[in-house]
Each structure stands twice: as C-alpha cells, then as structure tokens.
Symmetry: C2
Subunit: 237 residues, 2 copies
C-alpha cells in the first residue's frame, strides 16, 4: 500500500520522543522500584514530569538563560526529593537518578515501527530533550534515527516555530515535506501552524495505567494511529 | 585487545568526514565521468575542493554571514563551471551536481570499521558539512552514526575551538574523553589544542592516484592508523 496521495511529498518524519517513542512513566517507575522501593514511583514520575513545562516556561520567559533539559530535570528533581523522603540523596545518587531520562525504554512497537519507516523516510528526533540525552537513549534502546535533532540545535523549545521550521530548513525542504509524529496535541498544533504535516499517536498509558489519557481522534491531524506500527501501515512501509 | 591504557577514558569518537570517511575525489570523478565525460574529472574535483577553505575563510572573516557548506559548494561550483566548459548548465543541473557532496562514497573500510567501533564507543560526525548533507550521505552510504554533529550546530567552522569543545559539551564529557578521528593534521591540531585525544587516518589517495598525499606519522597524535579497521584494532573493538 502506498502513502495517501496527499502525503506523497513527505520525505522526513520528525518524532516527538518523551511519551511518543519512549515510556517515561513506566521507565521511571521501574527504576524507582529498584533503587528506592519505599517511594511511590507513580506519583514521583508524574511529579517530575509535571515540573517540565513550568521549567521550560522559565527559559522561554527569559528568567533563565538557555538551559538544557538535563539541567531542568535536575532543578525539578532537587525540588521533589524532599517531599518524597529522598532529601538525603548525595550528589552522585542525584546525578545517577537524573540520568534515568537517558535510560527510558521504548514502547513495545517503537523499534519495529521506526525500522519499517526508515526504509522509506528520513527519520529524525524533534524533542525538547538535549542532544546527549537523545543520543544516549537511542544507543541504549536501539532507536534507528538518521539524525538526532533537538531544541538544543535551534536554541528554542517546542512549540516555538523555530523548531518545526528548523527541521525543514536543515533538510532544505518545504514545511509540507516534513511530518511531525507526536502523542501531544499542542505539539502537533504548533507544527501544523508552521505548515508541517502531522500524525497523532495514541499513547493512552503515557501517565500510567492509573491515569489513562484521552486519545480520541481530534480534527486537524493528517493521520491518527494507535502505534508506530500502525503509522508504518498507513504510510505503506 | 583492550584500548591503550591512556585512552581508556575515551567515550566518544568524533569523525571528520570529507576525505577521512568518504572519498570525495573518487566520487566526484565517477559522477563527472558519467554526466559530463568530456570534462577532466580529476582536475574538476580538485578545483572544487580547492575553493573550500577560501570560502569558509570568507565566513570566518565576517565577509559572509553564517553560510552552510551546501551554499558554499554552490558558490564555488558556479565559479568553476565556465573554465571547465560547463557554463551552459541550467539551474536544475547545477542543483543536482552540487548535491554530489550528499552522494559521496565511503572508503572501502569505513562502514565495517565504524560498525566495529560503534559497539564500544558513541560515534558522531564532526564535519564542516551541514546536517542535511551529512544525514543524506549517511543514509545512502550506510554510515552508522549515533549522532550527526556539524559546524552547523555550533555555528562555527573547524578548527574553531567551539566545534571541538562543543562535542564534549553535548555529551557532558571532559575534552579528553572525546577523540577526533581525521585525515588532516590541521584539524587534529585544533582538537589537540582543546584537550581532545586524536587519531590520524592515512588516506594517501584523498586527492586521487595522480596526487598521492604524504601520510608519514607526525608527532602529537595519540594514534596513527592506515584505516578505520586499523583504528578498531588499536582500540580493541
């Protein structure tokens, strides 16, 4: 099966990462369970992630200068350790725990789906995660990117247009020749406003089985898929 | 065999590309022979490459604003077409020929050597070539990078220290934990001055069989190897 005719011009697929390609919640819960079984891993993972948008907002507003996600994750971590009873962690333990974001596991369909898509498309990341984080994650998890792109390259966080248009510019393509693949509607809306094509991926368990996410189709996206394997099916890969 | 003890801390290998990993001269000669057999491909390839350093010098001096290699290659191409009897090429033909730099073939040892090295090290490019060029090249040639880095990311051309130190910074490593692999002594000297480890790769045919390059060992580099397979041997991969 070929790609839908109106998507025939797409050459590059750019992927959101946290939640779309890798399971941040489950990975952090599993690591907490192993290292600090007395802590409520589910609540800890959600608290850490909940600090993410506010931390990036401090960069966007100029309150913080350009700061990589590794550093933002660490700022949030230092704030949530005391209420979770982990204020005693020393510097080495904090550094190790903060790098859990480099060790996130992919969703079960991610590697197989990306491998099929790679045969026809150029695959890149487009994440607010930093280049080192994304590279370490890909190497550990076997994610077969052709190119690792990040907010770090464009010095702007999604949904800043500089990120979406930056991908098209890197590959010397028109925006409509790039498709953003993401599990988050705000990210997809940002890409769409820049002229990119968009594919929504359902990840109902992004926040854990206890907090199912609403994933019903919404208008506006070119594709709505249950997984990256389903995306490969829809694109004829 | 393990890596030499003094190189045990190296975690990232950063590769120069043009001449070190891919054979720009031979690839351009082959493409010219096919497209424009009346042209002296050897002289054409060397003339094109000879314009490379002067073009980057115009960016470094500020005469040109930040300009990607694709654009610099095109500026040079437009200058050399008339003396080689190709002034009649139209825009589409010029665009296609300019993209030959995206279609360069690897040296025969490159893919096998990189594949062995990748099992132990994180492999990235560190080229003055732009991200799109390097990604397209890697996809076509099967170069298994973990991460594509470029002067484009750091907005500075090698041998600017921002490029060598930029790689260490991306991976949150000390400079001595990064090794530059290159076939050019000026590039290696720039890296060494920043505290990186260095490996020289002999590429005696970089400028073609008619113009053999002097490749005798010089002091200063940590390793001197005949190929990327020899580098994998030396690093115990």
């Amino acid at each position: 099966m070929a790609a839908p005719a109106d998507l025939a011009g797409v050459q590059v697929l750019a992927f959101d990462i946290f939640g779309t390609v890798v399971d941040w919640h489950g990975s952090i819960v599993r690591e907490l369970q192993e290292l600090y079984p007395e802590v409520d891993g589910d609540a800890f993972a959600r608290a850490w992630r909940a600090g993410y948008q506010p931390a990036m907002a401090r960069v966007r507003s100029g309150e913080l200068g350009w700061t990589r996600i590794d550093e933002l994750h660490r700022l949030i971590l230092d704030q949530i350790l005391p209420p979770f009873g982990l204020a005693h962690l020393d510097e080495a333990a904090r550094r190790h725990l903060n790098r859990v974001w480099h060790r996130l596991d992919p969703w079960p369909d991610s590697v197989a789906g990306l491998t099929r898509l790679k045969a026809r498309y150029t695959l890149c990341t487009l994440s607010n995660g930093n280049l080192g984080l994304l590279t370490n994650m890909a190497k550990r998890a076997g994610l077969p990117w052709d190119c690792v792109l990040s907010a770090e390259v464009f010095r702007a966080y999604k949904p800043d247009p500089a990120t979406y248009l930056g991908v098209a510019n890197v590959f010397d393509l028109a925006p409509a020749q790039v498709m953003l693949v993401a599990a988050h509607h705000d990210d997809l809306a940002g890409a769409r406003a820049c002229g990119l094509r968009t594919a929504y991926i359902e990840r109902p368990l992004e926040f854990g089985a206890g907090h199912p996410k609403e994933v019903a189709p919404r208008p506006g996206n070119d594709l709505h898929c249950a997984s990256l394997l389903a995306l490969a099916d829809r694109l004829g890969c």
